[in-house]
Amino acid sequence: MTILDERPETAEVPPPRRVNPLWALLRNSWRQLTSMRTALVLLFLLAVAAIPGSYFPQTSVNREKVSQYYTAHPQLAPWVDRLGGFDVFASAWFAAIYLLLFTSLIGCVLPRLRDHARALRSVPPEAPKRLERLPQHAPARPGPQPPAEVANGLARTLRGKLFRTRVRELPGGRFSVAAEKGYLKETGNLLFHFALLAVLIGVGFGHWYGWHGNRILVAGEDQGFCNSITQYDDSALGPRVTAADLPKFCLRMTDFEATYQSTGQPKSFLANVEVKEGSGEYRKANFTVNDPLRLHHANVHLIGQGYALELRYTDRYGASQTKVVPFLPTDGMQTSEGVAQFPDVNIDPNTNQRDDRLQVGFEGVYLPTGGDDGSAVSKFPAENNPMLYLAAYRGNLGLDVGKAGSVYALNRGQISNGELKKISGDRPQALKPGQSWTLDDGTKLEFVGTRKYATLSIRYDPTQSLMLVGAVLGLIGLMLSLFGHRRRIWFVVSPANDQEAGGSVVEAGGLPRTDYPGFAAEFAALTGHAEEGKP
């Protein structure tokens, strides 16, 4: 820790020259901002400002939780939103704090960089007059060799130990050897702070030039997709990315393997896919949790899995439609909920007119392993006893109103205003794969079977690798800074009093410039070494 090296907090105001008050104000503010105390305060503010980000649900982490919060606290939620509480880390006040901190950081490290560059070129200073005043001191000891020779020998030893060393000739045939070591500490410290800046800039660029999207990919060749923004269930492009910039690739899943412990805890997942990049051919690939599929400028991560149901509806006119609808798991045993909506059915082939009152929708629960007790929770996540419980609705599904509705639930508004009526009984219909259900109007729903689906997160962040380099350099700098020690050692070699013998007397002193408990030992070793040098 630098104690003696510290830059003065606020430099003395220079003697009264006529200064422009505005300039003085600016300069003083800048000094304030770049002082260590301000940095401390800003660091604290940053830590405190992050707390709401863990307390309130964050849009960037979990959009659904935010909606739940709105439902639970209808009064409070809009206020939280206005204050940026659901997006703390993108909020203006959070940005204000870290931008101030980083301005302070720049203002702090640039002058230090300059000073350090100077220090690196400077030579170790002259020995103080009275070595015995230094924290470390080795009293004068005689030796038989002439002073110049002793001084040069000492300098050689010190240089060998990577001390920056300077030998000076003093009046009276005396020599001084000045040595300094530990510049790496400050170098490391600067490296660390610059790495922080680099990482922040990296985050910014990654945000601008990156993009991501989430998508459910159901197994089967008919369910594949090619990368384009419309293919995503939810997506975000960085401000500097347009839909046309997305890399071209197509993906389809051949199958999905999941294994479980007997307790139902998942053991392993594996998505087997075929992928085509650019104008190439389809090739086989697979990926799993923790091991994404790395494509050119896109990474495909496996973040979830579940079952999609294949349902075939045959309408009054005998026309049938098949839908593959993903059901969303609601628990670890893959009890899954979802809907199948058939808006374009029961179209009279004579008039070709769609009757809005004759649209059909099904809502229900799928249990990969149903129990015999008829309970609506799955007993195991794999399909040991697949069971589907459905309720049927007929009427206007309300899909065309232009409002984006959920694809996992029926439109509640339409049900409550009576436009969409439940046509099955109070108890949902149970179906096993292959079974059919004939509704009251003679139309038929067949539960064809299930397919696995994978929830994918597809992302690209151009600065990711650079930031890793920055972070590692920063860590190296940090360690140099924390564990390095700046220290100075001086030897003064004088001719022995007994001129005849031609010997010399060596006195040594040492100054640790940072809190360095090991310095005494090092000093002793060095001065001991100096003694050994003498025959």
């Binding site: 830590a47 923790n290 990711q464």
Partner: protein, 318 residues
């Protein structure tokens, strides 16, 4: 094996408790004697050689009750550490993996590191033995809390934890957390001792009366523990963690509650290092910041797991 681990766990807590009682005995019976003054003479002074000897009890002088109590406490502490180790090993064997797959195991491991560091300090600087009262108190409380609120039966890992980053990230975070946690003990003692030396005679400071170690030594120990843990934490939480998160979730940093609190702890500890390097900030103020860091670590260990729900599945309390 799992059963054995649970029994060892109970014994571990009991052993720490016994050690704590004996440390307390040393505290109560120990004289504020020559020990303190001798130590002060030896240890004061920046850059001065730190003599690592216990002041020798002159031949023939009777070893007091306090001294005996302290020695027994140290032995018990080492036994407790061995039991603690046994708990972890049997747990790991029972689960057939590294014993840090959920919150219970995580706390078990972090406290083990803290305890091991403490015993290491004790062996190198026997003069600091009296701090054992506080370190064993902290361990008893943390382990007790782990057993009461976080106990989870032995189980396998969810697929998200099948990664070598699991080992790298979690082990470094555990080690650094353990060191940070134990670093709070000399920090607290420094504040107490320093307050006492400055003439305060109200309750927590009166404890300082029987602390023979000079305040500067406590302060420096605090710094060295934190300075050691900080880069390790930086690596574990801010480099290895994001690397793993990138592979697993696709984003290296997502402000999940656990990540938020790791960030907060990191910033607070950075503030501590800054404060300590700023001459105009008093050492007591800096040390308070270190204790604040300790609070944020606890928040991450217990609070986040219990109050918030996030992606860090191993963080789920049983």
């Amino acid at each position: 094996m799992a059963e054995l681990s649970n029994q060892l766990m109970a014994l571990t807590v009991l052993a720490y408790l016994a050690a704590m009682v004996c440390y307390a005995g040393e505290y109560a019976f120990g004289k504020r004697s020559h020990v303190g003054r001798a130590a002060a003479r030896q240890l004061v002074g920046a850059g001065a050689p730190v003599d690592e000897q216990v002041p020798v009890v002159a031949a023939g002088e009777k070893i007091g009750r306090g001294e005996w109590s302290g020695r027994i406490a140290a032995v018990l502490n080492v036994i407790a550490l061995a039991l603690h180790f046994g708990t972890l090993v049997t747990r790991g064997i029972a689960a057939d993996r590294m014993p840090w797959g959920n919150m219970y195991e995580y706390i078990l491991s972090a406290t083990f590191v803290g305890s091991a560091v403490w015993v290491g300090v004790l062996l190198r600087r026997p003069i600091l033995r009296h701090l054992g009262l506080f370190s064993s108190l902290a361990l008893v409380v943390l382990l007790g809390a782990a057993a009461l609120v976080a106990y989870t039966p032995v189980g396998p890992l969810v697929p998200a934890l099948h990664s070598y980053w699991f080992i790298v990230h979690v082990s470094t975070v555990i080690i650094s957390s353990g060191i940070f946690l134990i670093g709070a003990v000399p920090a607290l003692m420094f504040l107490i001792k320093n307050g006492y030396d400055e003439g305060r005679r109200t309750f927590p400071y009166t404890l300082g009366k029987r602390v023979p170690t000079p305040a500067v030594v406590l302060e420096r120990l605090t710094f060295r523990l934190h300075a050691f843990a900080f880069p390790l934490f930086t690596f574990g939480a801010l480099i290895a963690g994001p690397l793993w998160a990138e592979a697993s979730w696709g984003r290296y940093w997502g402000w999940d509650p656990k990540e938020v609190w790791a960030f907060i702890s990191w910033i607070v500890y950075a503030a501590y290092l800054h404060a300590r390097a700023t001459p105009s900030v008093k050492r007591t103020v800096a040390t308070w910041i270190a204790l604040l860091g300790f609070v944020t670590m606890l928040m991450n260990l217990f609070g986040v797991n219990l109050f918030f729900e996030g992606l860090h599945s191993y963080a789920n309390a049983g």
